[in-house]
Amino acid sequence: MLNINGLTIKVADGMDVKTLVAGVDLPIGEERIVGLVGGSGSGKTTTGLAILRLLSSQLNITSGKIDFLGKDLLACPEKELRRIRGKDISMVFQEPLNAFNPVFTISQQIGEVLKYHTKLTRRQRKERIEELLNMVGIKDPVRVCRNYPHQLSGGMRQRAMIAQAIAANPKLIIADEPTSNLDVTLQARIIELFRSLRADLKLSILLITHDLGLVAHLADEVAVMQQGKIVETGATRQVLENPSHAYTKKLMEVVKI
């Protein structure tokens, strides 16, 4: 469904040009969860943001193709891209407290996605928001709707963020470190939630993380990234049981401790 081909991203750093992402190839199939793993600075988040062309203006995509359902996202005009963002491809961020706008309530912010990407009326939107919050396992959606982001607990916020991401029935969710700020029990629940959503909504997930444990539990396939290059890819079990690249082995050792 989504096919990244030879993606190269460079940044001008004073006089010399640094390459952040060097020729990344990453296919994501229908209803697949693909884990993109790497240490910090390996370029995994940059790759994720590049899919929706959300990189800051200093970072330049110098070559490559991102094919989404037959459309090259890197070549399509901004206006068309805006219709894909949030609707066909949405994002879940690491820290929902920052990703939600602190001055609006949860329902206002989920409603915003619906307002831009669906034709629902005000009342229908309200129902849909409650339905969405139910789907992500929030038990009292009516109260949460009225709350501001800072009034929710970390786990609830992440659930609300996911509710926002699935609001317009996307085909792909890019989840950037979705569980890194949560404790272990909450991580397990969010993993469970992602699994059930994939099954219910038939969507694909690109899981960007440094946590191999999370990948082991959730992802079908894994791509290991180091210094802007994908050094190893394959089915999750195969890669984790039998890592061939030295960097993957190193990552595995870190998890075991």
Binding site: G86, S90, F93, N98, A99, N101, V103, R146, N147
Partner: protein, 367 residues
Amino acid sequence: MAGKPEKHYNQFQLALKAFGRNRLAMACFYVLIALYGLAIFADFFTPYSYDDENRIYSYSPPTKIHIFNEQGHLTRPFVYGTKVTFDQYHRRMYEVKKDERYPVRFLTPGQEYRILGIVPSRIRLFSVDEPGRIYLWGADSRGRDLYSRLIYGGRVSLSIGLIGVMISFTIGLVIGGIAGYYGGKIDDMLMRICEMFMMVPGFYLLLALRAVVPADFNSVQVYIAIIVILSFIGWAELARIIRGMCLSLRERDFVLAARAMGLSDMAIIIKHILPHTLSYSIIAIMLSIPGYILAESGLSLIGLGIQDPYASWGNLLSEAMGIIQIKFAPWILLPGFFIFLTVMCFNVIGDALRDCLDPKFKMEGKV
């Protein structure tokens, strides 16, 4: 988990509660409400129209309202008639004619007017029958009631501040928002334009722009021209500050999240970035309204603003530019007091709003 449902206040509701506890600011708030109320319903609260003149009564002193008759009995309020004579220096002398009594009538029909420009009405709060005149706060050189002219003048002086601020803040917010959000060349260009406006000393720019406006404009056109001129000058400084705030706001995660949601740049600026500058903007708005009122008064004072017979506090004051007038008719300084009162109220409210909107200020003084 029984009990009453928890009520959540947002930042502004909390700020309003804090504002309500500030007595001085609330008093100023009510004073402003009263002033605006008087101005809006000026036709009702005044006995005469702003251009109702009677030159015999030039600089007539304030009329005394009596509630006791000659026998010392309480009666309904009345005023005595006035006789005008001239002394050996050809100065007017006002004598009370005890034999002429005019009762002050309340809620009587007078000249027709329209409430808020729509509903026709004739009722005025109080008046006296002709040929008696009631000059609550004295008369001006043409024998027009200063009280009536003051209230009518408030319409111009008070509204110019609000409308001017609204226009210049809209421009300032949008330009500052765009400059801050996009950065780069757009930012450079917009900021240089701002600096051009800020470089020119304000009042000279005001005069120059006023000179561009044709001299034969009617009063409404002049009024609009003054508003436009004032807003033209006012936006630059705000735009610079908003731009600075936006530069830091655009790096926040929720802006990236909003872009990932598929919002357009303009929607992000207006819905996600500018609301964060609101607590600053509201304070700035309150503190800059006096500037507009003073600027209009200044223009009108030197005769470039609202023209006679229309009244504004500035052009009412222009009568008070000679020592003779001030000495013999000190009441013509009253518009100055009203300007002072209004400006002070806005400043006090602005300061109070800053105290309750800006969390940094809460640490100081009382907890």
